[in-house]
Symmetry: D2
Subunit: 439 residues, 4 copies
């Protein structure tokens, strides 16, 4: 089940994956680089037997020794084995790390999650639950966690609720027994036919063991900070995130975009697959016909060899082929979810023009990305983000569009029904909801 | 370039792939099982140097020793090395094979293409071109071929023109020299930025060497038999096949389907990715809104491990997730390109209902598939094809739809502008355009 | 059993290996590059089921496309599948090949064995046995063969008996049924606990099927030509070859070498492992104490990476380490089985001196290698063989020994009890027993 | 150089291997399961650049997650990265581990070495050298260590000197600069052409940095405990260990064994390769001729597939083949280095008899192994050691020899010139030189 859940969440991280299972009070684990389907063989899954397990997929970052940073992290503590899987980013991890090193702690990897293990091991409280609350209270930033001990499964969502974390139940088809399932997105529940129960609330700690589920609460923060980018891009369209269907959010983004940035055109085409839902919304609202004018090749492997002869825009072309038969002599609205560095958009627009489009109007179903995320989404530095330093007109010129339109921040909030002080849109509006500790 | 072309044609075959290049009169070759991107490393491509090459991708069939059947087939003949890549199926291959064996020929594999090598080696005509004409004239069925000798590149399309084969030109970015490119589908030209020139005509033999292109013609047959299924399913939507854009054909199939099989409904959704264009056409014609109501997971690898617990319809579910948020309480038209055995459609309809759809109306953008293809498309036997023995109502009941509608054969012909005696629709209408030689 | 037999014969070829088994009249095969233990998994062996099988190991040669040349070669002929495994070399293969190509035959690989398949397929005799005799009678050179048809296992040794081929019987531990086993060396019988029966005689064809064993005889040649090099180097010391134990032969080589090339010294040391038996013989005969003065490292893998810093004689050193503790200040006799190019001997002598030896006397338990083998042993060209152009004194100077002694040809014959006209020693005496057909 | 050194020491551990290099104050590391030659590619070695490095090979133990226990262990401490490679076993590691866990330390693996990292991280002394002395002083048992920090290379040998550790110098072939090399055995120096300088003395700490070598000394213990088993089996014969050549030791063991356990026989044969030197010594002393009567097959891979049919003693047979031609009708002395469980000896004797030996006299060049090693040699439990509970006569009967003789403990000491209170022979005499802390 854990394997299948990771498989459904593969889009959240392709760098490495891992599972830790609990059997007779002992942990069994397996981690590997790359995709879930490439790392777990049948015999490996057999070895990972037991009735409880946690798993993790990690997204691509630079740097060597990636396997050391693969999660779940594991360690042996005084009460036995402990494993932890973390979605998010702890902004004061470096500060805590330096303090702990001075006190004699030794660190294995370079990731922020390891400090949680150390805080837990060092806290002097008698009961594990108290040590957990004490430790987690010291953290600032985003942390949706699953923790496995020799007896319990624990799920935690940070007090500001940056990342999603949901709870479901599943029935054993044979015994009829009910079991608990926790996952970052509800699409994982769909695959294993678990029944979605509810979101784990910001600040909630769920402690699940043979006696059932107990709840604890971390001290509240002054505001919530649910990541609006989950709706814009990160989550799968078939997930329900923060109480709202992602596909619906994306269609709404497209509709409001059509209201805010209308244009006279013959066709609306998405950049597949990320722009499909927003393009449908744009088409519906504007009345301009929708076409799948760019075909995506899904056979692109990770080992693809770049040709030496200079085929222009090759990196994009091998994935995306705009169809002349559709685009020839047309005024085209191209809808995508974001412009990061601008180079990909530039290549796509060039290909669309080369396929015969008369006019190319770029429409982005989100506001300009002006700042990096410090809460767990892999974004480039501020310097690399084209919208951090360039005006709308400069970006338009760079990407080579006839016109360029972004959604407004208020349009974004409207599209996802975001209440004030409940969402984080820092990558768009620069309002980081925590201290940044030198980031 | 050949590698990139194969990559663009990967959808035509995933079982094995191969390239043979020509350098200083010698052949260099590499073949492997599986995908193009998994089989050619940079050093392998370096080894395959030279100015001329042919390649092949082969689709999945049963049986062991698959590497022996991988193409291009190679052999050493009296005039030197010869390699051949074949798209299609020669229906009288078994007859020729038995005759040649009696004459002392030895066969390596079990595929039909090997007889061409033997016919070429045994023919007594002086000139290679004459031997080629003599040999190919003995074949019945489908053969789009590329042949590489120690001096020439030859392209052949059988006299009935079953499979597509097109010609393009490309300019060397440095020297400005023009070179010829031949491929089964035009999407291969798009990727390498070659310029489409024209289709190779039925019965044409193009002989390309340092002196340019010469043409020969095989004796004509009484009719043409271009494969209509290329438009329905086989070709990529961004290709132009038999002079017509495939995406346009598929949208037309959907439009005519909407005219022939209308229904009152709230939504039209495609089975992704194969039903997308037809569903857009159906929606456009019927006015019923289009939604991407089923999300496809593209991370499914070939090594995926089936769960032991009985998750119903798992094989389909791991790829396709219908969204309750879209489908809940809706009357839904589900559009797909075909029903083969019926089991997949049954699972999809079950999942769509489980996601909350009130009514499910299945619409197939092609006529019922009643017979196998003997000309190179990998279809199950007649017995396995549900439409070969079941009535429309029986199929509807089996797949569990509230209503079921297929396109008519005449609707299909209209959609692709097929002229009488130019297309083969034998899998739909049973009119096989050649003798079947016991198949 | 076939797998184990190949394993015992691994020293005869490490480039590629293969097995073809017979089940229900069909052939099942598997071939691969590299060692037997690296190429056959348990599931692969399961797939190769059946009651009869043949296998082959092939030694390292240069050139690409090695898998195409891996044996057993297989083909489909008019009477069904045929597989052939060949030890030796057919000297008139190129002539036959050219003739067959002109008659319309197509060749897959570049090896000499493939002509046998074609001769068999083309012969017009009614009975397979007659076709076999007709075909094999056209061959000149060395061929110990095993052939598998859809019904029979056939073993052949060429009329001059170049390569060994022996017959054994084995009892099924359960049924008590007796089965026949054929192998190049008797060490294969030892491993599977088969009972050695006898050598297959020069020119004999054994046809084994459910009715038992039938014998046929190829036309006799004017002399026998059993390969003396099998005793010197090629066969395993624990095999009995041409009726004589190889270990005993090698000790005898060392004893006669001690008589022919005596020297005053403190120690006799072998180059391990090839020189051990001869060094023991030299020590026994001369009375000079034997020591394992050079230690061999058996962990050397095929992927070993050469260091960049220039460690002198590294290629040899990584395998062989002479011990100062033994050699310091000693007069040492180093015994090896041959000097090919001279470069390895030069490095060994340098290392032995660097370890402190006062004098180094090289003794070779064979005559100078003056010509290449054309009958199946992988030797360098005449130009590369140091003894083909250099005098004893020149070689001594090149390798840097204080003295150098080779065995005489007559000493060699005496050591292996070779009767005149029964052995081939062409690599030592230049008397090739067949026409060479341009080799 | 480190890679080559590990390669030369491969016999000391085949389970896993690793290297950590130091470049610009940062550590670069690579670890893997299996052999050195299979784990380091050229690009991997390129990545491990820098001027200083340590490496480790680990022997096979049971248990999963072997990669976690692979060494060198690495961690990030307050003064930067630290890596440690350990030969030996710390007998009070479990005690220290429990204490540290109670103080909040978290452990990654299950090996004893990790406690050293924690002790170092937690010690409050100002200077690293003092922390090192404080930490190592708490350890009981065997520890030859190499430690790499961001600035220094440190070598340590425990105060009782259980395991060997030697120092050499090497000259850069280009710059002529001298560098220091530390290794467990001198055979590593031979391969890289380093000059052996001296053994690192028991209790010595060498701190090597850009300013040269500094020495420190750990508090002395009441006796030394150099492992006598290094001479009997563990070290390579071409190494000089504890000031004495191992090959010489083994020959002496054989000679004294011949004096202590003489027998009338025709041949002395070794069990290859471990018994060769002792058998030569036995032959020399007794005057009974030496023969390589058992041939060892070095092609045995780790993936070898056991046959299903019951070939008796197969596991041994696939490696060792006794030659009838030598053994037929002979009285044979078989010399080996030890009997552990007795099952292998039993199989060898059975094979020797099956090859025709008339009498088989087993001679072991060491005393009976009666207890496990707690200082770093991988031995079975006391219960599994046949000599821990069976009499000489019982063992003889079990292995099926006509006579059985072991070396005496005093004979062993004499053979390696062991002074009282300088060697540990606990596996033979039960006198463990440290407290065992519950082992």
């Amino acid at each position: 089940m854990t394997y299948l859940g990771l498989f459904a969440l593969q889009h959240r991280g392709q760098e490495s994956c891992g599972i830790v299972s609990l059997k007779d009070g002992e942990h069994i684990h397996h981690k590997g680089l790359g995709l879930v389907a490439d790392n777990f063989t049948e015999s490996e899954l057999d070895r990972l037997s037991g009735k409880t397990a946690i798993g993790h997929v990690r997204y691509s970052t630079t740097g060597a020794n990636l396997l050391t940073n693969a999660q779940p992290l594991t360690a042996s503590l005084k009460e036995g084995p402990l494993a932890i899987a973390h979605n998010g980013n702890i902004v004061n991890a470096a500060e805590i790390r330096e303090r702990l090193k001075k006190e004699g702690a030794i660190f294995q990897g370079t990731n922020d999650t390891e400090v949680i293990l150390h805080l837990l091991a060092r806290d002097r409280a008698e009961r594990f639950e108290d040590r957990l609350t004490n430790s987690l209270s010291q953290l600032e930033g985003a942390f949706s966690l699953t923790i496995l001990t020799s007896k319990k499964l624990i799920a935690v969502r940070d007090p500001m609720g940056f990342r999603p974390l949901s709870l479901a139940t599943i029935k054993d088809p044979k015994s009829g027994e009910k079991a608990w399932v926790v996952a970052s997105e509800t699409c994982a529940f769909d695959l294993i036919e678990a029944k979605f129960e509810r979101d784990i609330l910001p600040g909630q700690i769920l402690i699940i063991d043979k006696d059932g589920v107990k709840e604890r609460q971390l001290p509240a923060k002054s505001q919530l900070a649910q990541c609006i980018f989950e709706h814009v891009y990160f989550s799968r369209p078939d997930s329900v995130v923060f109480g709202r269907g992602v596909y619906h959010s994306r269609k709404s983004l497209g509709k409001i975009l059509a209201q805010e940035c209308p244009v006279k055109a013959d066709l609306v085409i998405p950049v597949p697959d990320s722009g499909v839902a927003a393009a449908l919304g744009y088409s519906e609202e504007s009345g301009i016909p929708f076409e799948m004018g760019i075909i995506r090749n899904h056979y692109v492997g990770r080992t693809f060899i770049e040709p030496r002869s200079q085929i222009r825009s090759f990196g994009v072309k091998v994935k995306l082929n705009p169809m002349s038969a559709i685009l020839e002599n047309k005024r085209v609205v191209v809808v995508d979810d974001s412009i990061v560095r601008g180079t990909t958009s530039k290549k796509i627009i060039r290909l669309v023009r080369a396929a015969g489009a008369k006019e190319v109007h770029m429409r982005i179903a989100a506001p300009p990305t002006t700042g990096p995320c410090h809460y767990g989404v892999d974004t480039p530095t501020k310097e690399e983000l084209i919208a951090s330093s360039q005006s709308l007109e400069q970006i338009r010129e760079f990407v080579g569009a006839d016109s360029l339109g972004y959604l407004s921040v208020s349009g974004l909030q409207k599209a996802v029904s975001a209440k004030p002080n409940e969402f984080c849109a820092a990558c768009f509006d620069g309002k980081y909801p925590t201290e940044l500790f030198g980031h």
